[in-house]
Subunit: 281 residues, 4 copies
Amino acid sequence: MTAVLSHHAYGKSRVRLTKVTRQADRYDLKELTIDIQLEGDFAAAYTHGDNSRIIATDSMKNSVYVLARAHPLTDPESFGQHLADFFLTNYPQVASAQVKLVEQSWRRITVAGREHPHAFLGGGAEERTCIVTATRRGQRIASGLDNLLILKTTDSAFRGFLRDRYTTLPDADDRIFATILTADWQYRGTAANWNGCYQLIRQTLLEVFAGHHSLSVQQTLHAMGAAALEACAAIEEITLTMPNQHRLLVNLQPFGLDNPNAIFVPTEEPFGLITGTLRRG
Amino acid sequence: MTAVLSHHAYGKSRVRLTKVTRQADRYDLKELTIDIQLEGDFAAAYTHGDNSRIIATDSMKNSVYVLARAHPLTDPESFGQHLADFFLTNYPQVASAQVKLVEQSWRRITVAGREHPHAFLGGGAEERTCIVTATRRGQRIASGLDNLLILKTTDSAFRGFLRDRYTTLPDADDRIFATILTADWQYRGTAANWNGCYQLIRQTLLEVFAGHHSLSVQQTLHAMGAAALEACAAIEEITLTMPNQHRLLVNLQPFGLDNPNAIFVPTEEPFGLITGTLRRG
Amino acid sequence: MTAVLSHHAYGKSRVRLTKVTRQADRYDLKELTIDIQLEGDFAAAYTHGDNSRIIATDSMKNSVYVLARAHPLTDPESFGQHLADFFLTNYPQVASAQVKLVEQSWRRITVAGREHPHAFLGGGAEERTCIVTATRRGQRIASGLDNLLILKTTDSAFRGFLRDRYTTLPDADDRIFATILTADWQYRGTAANWNGCYQLIRQTLLEVFAGHHSLSVQQTLHAMGAAALEACAAIEEITLTMPNQHRLLVNLQPFGLDNPNAIFVPTEEPFGLITGTLRRG
Amino acid sequence: MTAVLSHHAYGKSRVRLTKVTRQADRYDLKELTIDIQLEGDFAAAYTHGDNSRIIATDSMKNSVYVLARAHPLTDPESFGQHLADFFLTNYPQVASAQVKLVEQSWRRITVAGREHPHAFLGGGAEERTCIVTATRRGQRIASGLDNLLILKTTDSAFRGFLRDRYTTLPDADDRIFATILTADWQYRGTAANWNGCYQLIRQTLLEVFAGHHSLSVQQTLHAMGAAALEACAAIEEITLTMPNQHRLLVNLQPFGLDNPNAIFVPTEEPFGLITGTLRRG
């Protein structure tokens, strides 16, 4: 028997970076966590312990800090492009470089109604994400957001679904709809107004979620994705993933009380998981 | 040998509760996670398997939902007081009841510049906390906040500390100061403007953190605590805990670059942990 | 603009199940966490809020418990196959069903040198995994293990890698090699000695890891994967993922001490991440 | 108003340490995570930014590595004592030093029925713990274990508890009893057979848990604690904490099936939390 190495990749994960930029009247702050994965002519390391073409993952980490020193870091997309280019340009053995970037958000602390020039408050669990995948034929840029916890207290139903002997869930005309949204969109090209698109898509997703008269998570997901494609001409595709963070109505009848959609138990597991990808038609 | 049961307590932890209140023009939303611990005349269950005085922890959970149905939940403090009273009043075997409440924050989604009446955005990791400890002699109310991530990019030094053969840390005139603040304050009495005090203390802590010319984490902690006592006459004591979320300056000299407080690595561990309690003098 | 729904799937995640089976002389215990994802003719729910073909994710959860009642659960693979078949057989609108199963391991507590008939000890973070993917054309079975923390204190080097201006890592002739192994293998067919294969592959991976004179993580990964293919004829492919859980040698020179591979700092991030897939040649 | 600093402490947390010791025929491996907290004459740092008596937490970390270089690390207790002594002896401003140590367990990989000399398998979530608290008057040693997941499938009842209008839980004659045990015991003096006591107490707790005919978590906790005191004369007190990791019987009646203690759902929250301290009478 011969074992064939049919796929291989390696890189550095969770390279964390804080960049502080001193402006005339304030400091700017950016925090990113970066994962790099390279594919290419590295098989000899696997098969023969020949490390001569191996770029140490420690050197990849160094490269991130060196490149960040000169780069303005105004958005994760352009820094990801710069990093991916770096590996392709400097190392002929690299066939493809994937750079994932997660931006932790910070807001300025407000003092006496004004934003403070150098003090910040963590922005919570929500993250802005980006994946740059580059080969010698070109780059693809996917961006998104993750861990965006949203909830609506009404305008959400779920009824008329299939009933058989495995069904115990009653129809619901009015339920809480809570999810932890992940959105990933694919840009058409390699240049765009990255920050503008991000803000526009994020706000569109929030507004459609808020305003939609939901007949199911699936339907709201579709409406949100379609609106994002409509709002931002620079993207060609968007995938939304919506775990259903169930809030279960508590049965208060044993205690002689009604419960007109007032008291719920949030549950972590199990959860429904709904996903869909929309493309420009 | 005889083993003596010198202390015992039991209760229900992580009782999660969502309450939706329909107002004329909007819905209000509250989410709490509640831990209950009771002490009292329960030794026979431990020593003889006699459960006759045991309130099942499942019944404690039920009580939370029953009481929440009628309670307005405008603040965690008054609901905690109500719950602690309930156990002391209903069950003579209970000598003390401790109720911990953690409130997850939600903000309204903004659509076209206006707050949406029923759609919400998760408020992040920051939590509002409260512990009500009640006996038949009275109640004590401690409130606080947890997981408040704050960072300042300048106005923080650490120099002139003890140097000996175990010291390698250089003096720093200007460093990043980042922490995940926990604050716990003790109220003087059992009635106060709970929401007003919370907002006032939180804002005071943020403003002092932002404005302080810090010579050490210890010094900033002291200034923040003193200002909180000054700001809110209803509290008698405050404890602040400040883990030092180190951002380490990256050494770029091997790459022929300087690093004038621009590029840092955030690290999770190890971390300095500084705590202090301030009382009214 | 028309948005086209190019992909969609949904299901229930983290359905947790404990099954206790009473034997003549002992109790057997199995714990699984199950994720179900269905694809098929569900587009009308997304586009028109038509739920008539939607199997509620709550009903999927019910099905897991109903099917587990009769199934012996001797291995996750056969229960996964049974579940996937169930959805394809019962619901014509389902085109494909993916069932992921994670088994939490339990060991019997040993009392006086003998395994106890009904008391168990949690088996730690290591998990046995399985993914059954079924369509109307057939099934594919992938199995594996996850979170297997392994470490060797010697017989691991990393030298001769590419050096350029971004390289600061020194060559290492003898370093700690620690990783959290994930292994996923694809079976050739839909029937095998599931438990026997699992044990054999797991033990082979451990033995090769222990005995290999490692010139790189890549090389040891290759040796482990090749040995697994050699050991178990029932599998056609194996993917190993090995995050490098760095143990960094502490520099004790500032304190006048040497450090002959004795004192290390374990670090969580950043980490090298090495992956490779081997197929039968 | 004057704010008075009524309590203060600081130190370094999560100092992680791997020590490899080369023996003639094998390598030994120890991994510890250490938290240090000092109290003493540090108020001037808080009140006046005077750091002259402050031992940098970075220096504390250095001290751990320097001391570990010479110490055999055969048990966490003696290394904790050594560290606590170090701070009291070297720094007159230190009034008390608390050192918490958590040991991650490793087992040797078995190859061909024999333990491998230098390859190890992670021991799972269970941790051995120790807290040394030292002042100039002496030391106190508390040791324990944490995260020990144990479950029994029978020999556990819970009935005859208080019933009132808040009670919906039925009596159970035979239920699953699962918990994540935390045990903390206080030694009588400052010298003992640390490893022997640890193994003896751990095994005693496991055996009593396995063999006890449980009428409640409280009763089993008491039996386990009493047996530990009985087994090990070196300890004067033991505290056990037992969160009730509920396995809820699934109602299969809607599907026309019985469920004779066969199919359960494990739940994470809410959970009962039972604690008790036993002292030598």
